[in-house]
């Protein structure tokens, strides 16, 4: 097999992994602060994907351009969900939270099925079939655009948490819940803001993902599972860990498929997860529980 094929496949896996990472980032942010695991994460991404498809088919608006408005819509959805639905469950047992979010996931999947039907849908942008020739490398144009956008969105999110007062307040809630209450932070509103930000991340990822895959309502559960694999590999609650996990899973799937058999791509991703759980249960960049 020619050597350049390994490089081609690795680059493709890396770029796909960046979008995976952005998707998982939302899950990690929500868990890191609110301590609720969003079992409707992938389903929220499919909502964003359908929004992108509708905007494209109705107004020919490019999903990459519409990434910000779609993220804003998902932010609003996440904010309202946390405020109206999840906040009352914050102090309830974990299995109650689990049942609530699984129910939300089921409603979303079946709602999308009713509205959009079961057929796979996609967007055909003018660059959908483009690729760049870089020496021996042939790189898919949509994957490059999506990869760059994923890095940009992640950078904005990192900057928000590091440099803004609201971001610092959210981190304070995550670090010390009681302390945050004592200093007078409106924790419930900050939780809603965090869930909104997680949803916005997944909204942006959905707008990018629609360029790479066809969407069906049933896609949601598969991406929820993928997001879990990524955040557990990278470290649950760690933002850089989610991005790293995404890249590792993308690369593992691509190279595993090339070196062994493509039909066992997912097996390699799960194999990596098992190794991480065995040798570093907190995830690659996760903190060991005190």
């Amino acid at each position: 097999m020619p050597a350049e094929i390994y490089l081609n496949v690795a680059v493709s896996g890396l770029l796909t992994g960046l979008v995976y990472g952005l998707m998982a980032l939302g899950l990690s942010v929500v868990f890191g602060v609110v301590r609720v695991v969003n079992f409707a994460h992938g389903e929220m991404m499919t909502i964003a994907m359908y929004l992108a498809i509708e905007l494209f088919s109705a107004f020919k608006l490019d999903p990459l351009v519409m990434m910000v408005p779609i993220a804003a819509v998902l932010f609003a959805l996440g904010y309202i969900m946390q405020l109206g639905l999840i906040n009352p469950f914050i102090n309830r047992p974990e299995h109650s939270q689990f049942m609530l979010l699984v129910a939300v996931a089921l409603i979303v999947v079946n709602g999308l099925l009713i509205v959009f039907g079961p057929d796979a849908q996609s967007v055909q942008t003018r660059y959908a079939f483009d690729s760049f020739l870089l020496g021996p490398l042939i790189v898919d144009a949509t994957k490059i655009y999506a990869g760059i956008a994923a890095v940009a969105v992640a950078a904005v999110l990192f900057a928000f948490f590091r440099f803004t007062l609201v971001g610092k307040a959210i981190r304070a809630c995550a670090d010390n819940y009681a302390g945050a209450l004592v200093v007078g932070l409106d924790v419930k509103r900050l939780y809603a803001l965090t869930f909104g930000l997680g949803a916005a991340c997944v909204g942006a990822a959905g707008a990018m993902m629609v360029l790479l895959v066809d969407v069906t309502p049933q896609l949601g559960p598969a991406y929820t599972l993928l997001a879990f694999v990524i955040v557990i590999t990278g470290g649950l609650g760690s933002m850089p860990g989610a991005l790293l996990g995404g890249v590792l899973i993308g690369l593992t799937e691509a190279l595993g498929g090339l070196l062994f058999t493509p039909s066992a791509k997912s097996m390699f991703a799960f194999g990596l997860l098992v190794l991480v759980l065995l040798f570093r249960p907190q995830g690659i960049l996760g903190k060991r529980p005190a």
Partner: protein, 418 residues
Amino acid sequence: MTCKLHCNSARAQGVTRRTFAAGIGAAGVLAGSSPFAIGRAQGAALKVGVLLPRSGVQAGIGQDCQRGVEITPGILKSLGLPELAIMNGDTESSVEVARSRAERLIGEGAQLLVGAFDSGQTTAIAQVAEQKGIPFVINIAAAPPITEQGYKFVFRNFPTAPMILGDAFGNQKEVFEAAGSAPKLVVFMHVNDTFGTAMQKGIGAVMPKFNMPYTIAETISYDPAARDLSVEVAKAKATGAEALLMVSRLNDAMLLTRELVKQRWSPMAVLSMGPGWYEDQYLKTLGKLSDGPLSFVPWYDPNKKLSKQLEGALAKAHPGINLNTNHIYTFEALLIAADAYKRAGSADPKALADAIRATNITDSVSIGPGIKFDAKGQNTSLKNAGIQNRGGKLVTVAPKAAANTKVEWPLKPYDKRG
């Protein structure tokens, strides 16, 4: 208008509150006993449970088969066959769901089952049908073991994988001869579901008998629900193969075509031996990029009278949709059911199964002498065709007897299609 007429006639005949109540009671008794009215006299429609993957990864094809169901009643009526009461069941593209839906449909009174496009799902339904003693007419499923189990209630009017392969290799050789060239090296890519695996096993057994001009450089299997096939195409391209030998489904066929374009690889030919490449969704979604692939599949004889009738019915109900395997074999499965019901004169499962076993329909749509079943419940006389996508339409290029045009060869490079 209809209601008015009924109301007036009821008044004219003097319907009282007492007779009305008695009528309601009688209707209730009839409705309540209908699931048990297996052996009732003919006149009532036969309850046919149609199981298809209407959602999930195979939804596109399941919905296409459904079009075949929708255009059937009018044709059955014109043929003087009894009415069928269709009970729809969604397998959700899952073997487990197919099994439970089959059980549920039988529980709800289905007297005969039809389905289910996918070999894995069909295998599960066949087991249920045999256990419950309800006749099952398979519309599409090619895995050979389904009719090798000694089942008494399972019938397949669709070629098995070795039959498809045998015809495919024969028709490919005809195409190569007509084109004046043939690939020397191909890469075989297939879905790793029941159908794909059966075809992969069949190739090893059938191909050596046909002395094909090509050898298989590598076999690449993949998940039919895969979201990204870039690695698969990169691996196939790296083999240096001149053509692709394919056994796929719909979504993966579209993904593969996109990857061929993106990875700047235009093989000499795409030789498909399964669904996907000729489906309407493939043609419409990919436009010019859909032109060229050759599919060697169970097809219809465009010269048969019933084919023209079916084409007309589809064009009327779904303008712009090309008649294809999904419509043809779903229609024929329902035709077999109605024909058997007429001859059996009863909905008794055993009588129906016996009538299906004695089927001899010469006025059919599929290529071949007609519909007849052997002792195993398999129609062994079906023939395939080689078809090519051409400007959003499908043309038959092989065998010569059923061809309506010459093959366009080789595949026009994707980067030269404007």
